[in-house]
Amino acid sequence: MRVGTAKQSYAADEGLFKTDTQKVWFGLLLAALVLFPLNGSSYWMFLAVLVMINVISTTGLNILTGYTGQVSLGHAAFMAVGAYTVAFFDGRFGTPVLLNLVLAGAVAAGIGYLVGLPSLRIKGLYLAIATLAAAVILGFIFLNWTPVTGGLRGLNVPTATIAGIELATPDRLYWLVMPITVVMVLAAKNLFRTRVGRAFIAIRDRDISAEIIGISLFKYKLMSFAISSFYAGVAGGLWAYLFRVVTPESFPALASIFFLAAVIVGGAGTIVGGIFGAVFMTLIPEFLKLSATALVPWFPDASIYLAPVRNIIFGLLIIGFLIFEPMGLAEMWRRTRRYFALWPFRT
């Protein structure tokens, strides 16, 4: 049992990890991430890469929706912008991978900045509809700006190549995606230790008093849109390297809902919530698929009948979360930690 966490300096109290326990756990997490490829299954490696891409994207939406309180239904469109940017630059000019990813983020951030402009006048549901409209416009551009986007057929993406090594399979791509994910999640965590992150939360909680203490709503709302879209753009770029083809169908409007659901199920306004949400939303369908397959020896038709049931279970799980744990998985995680912090005593 830990009684308290006494600190000697303000620096320790403001630290990213407040206790040694947290540092140890984070070390273990990093070790697990490094050792994960030892499982040798390319199916699991593919899932791991996909989960991490979704973690980056969900974290981005969490910054905008969970922390700044601006609901966006166009997040997948920014991922698409990132994916097309990578496909365009790598396919057309063969520019280096890391540069492409930065460009993907930057282009998405620029477009996100523009899409954020309505947020200065409208809030809540109205803003959600405005972002949805922006996503529809972007979808139209992807479909019709054929010289750049390849129109209906889309673009093929070359293999990601860094220092002569071809990252053709998920096993190799993992070593590109994993470090980027860790860095971007930590950067998001840092953001909310500073004045910029506090300004975002202030706008979410009460925009009038944010203004009175000198926070420019104009600047910070658009900054939040740009940062969020930057994350989406990078995630989209990595997605392009994973799937190697980008079409207008790659990021449907439903994908935006997917990320919004991930933010809410995970726990809006917490970094760890974004991670949990993305992992949950990506893996549960796979898990349900695997369990259906596992039943085949007993019920040969299981996969036929269970396929539609799978979606129903998935939907029910989300509804269940909204009802029983509206603060998301992050809140369950917090409660678990508190339980063990006091163990063997109970509150």
Partner: protein, 284 residues
């Protein structure tokens, strides 16, 4: 945790506020009609009046939420009537709200830190890395707030508590703390003791006096608690139906026939005595 050093807090000089001929209109309703208000540096000035007199409207016009129809607001002689609300923070104009306007999802410490937002400079790239200048700035901010605000208002036991779960009186105090973190030269408090019991009221009144004495800041407040107003104010300005009907020291205002009429609807001696009684009954 002890304060890291005992250097004197930054004490910007108290500001002078002059409001001249301020008028504000909502459609056909004249909320303010040619208000004059002069707040001396380092004074505690109270703005009082019956409900609907225009006190909060005057506050909102002075702090920049409303654009007045006519009139000027001058801070130390500089016309700030056209300065947007968010830029007035940097000029040293801080305010609290009648119905607490804290950031409910954040801790007390983060709320107070936000008060200093306009004085900090680090940007988004520094924020991602939390290194170098950003880190230094955040550390200085923390030390300074602990020393000047949290210790001063005795909030150290709740610094990591989310604001939403605090009792009302403490929330009001946190709002004062956030306003202090803005390094104000003039502090505008909108009903700082509304809805408080006597003990909380006395606590807040003492805090306001301490702030004036130790920080040397000018205080302008709107308040309904006559006992507190008469007790701590140097200067009182009375509004009714958007007009100023009296201004002066608490004693002068208390004996002003127009004020008695506005508050009690008559001018008979027993009622005046009642107001006097209310005024002197409370000692903060």
């Amino acid at each position: 945790m002890s304060p890291s050093d005992s250097a004197a807090p930054v004490r910007p000089p108290a500001a002078r506020l002059d409001v001249e001929n301020l008028s504000l209109q909502f459609g056909g309703v004249k909320a303010l009609d040619g208000i004059d208000l002069h707040v001396e540096p380092g004074s505690i000035t109270a703005l009082i009046g019956p409900n609907g007199a225009g006190k909060t409207s005057a506050f909102n016009a002075i702090s920049g939420f409303y654009r007045p129809k006519t009139g000027t607001v001058k801070l130390d002689g500089v016309d700030i009537t056209q300065v947007p609300a968010r830029d007035r923070a940097k000029l040293g104009l801080a305010r609290t709200f009648q119905n607490i306007a804290l950031f409910r999802g954040m801790t007390v410490l983060d709320n107070i830190k936000l008060g200093r937002h306009a004085h900090l400079t680090s940007g988004v790239f520094g924020a991602f890395l939390y290194w170098g200048r950003t880190r230094r700035e955040e550390m200085e901010l923390r030390a300074e707030i602990e020393r000047d605000v949290i210790d001063f208002l005795e909030l150290d036991h709740i610094r990591n508590v989310p604001v939403a779960i605090l009792p009302y009186g403490l929330q009001k105090k946190v709002e004062l703390a956030r306003a202090l973190a803005m390094r104000p030269r003039i502090l505008m408090l909108d009903e700082p003791v509304a809805g408080m019991n006597r003990e909380e009221t006395e606590d807040m009144a003492r805090a306001i006096l301490d702030v004036r004495d130790e920080w040397g800041v000018t205080v302008l407040l709107v308040e309904h608690d006559m006992g507190m107003v008469m007790d701590i104010s140097d200067h009182v300005c009375v509004l009714n139906f958007g007009r100023r009907i009296a201004a002066g020291s608490p004693t002068e205002v208390r004996n002003d026939p127009d004020v008695i009429k506005a508050y009690l609807g008559g001018s008979g001696d027993p009622r005046k005595a009642a107001l006097d009684g209310a005024a002197m009954g409370e000692v903060a």
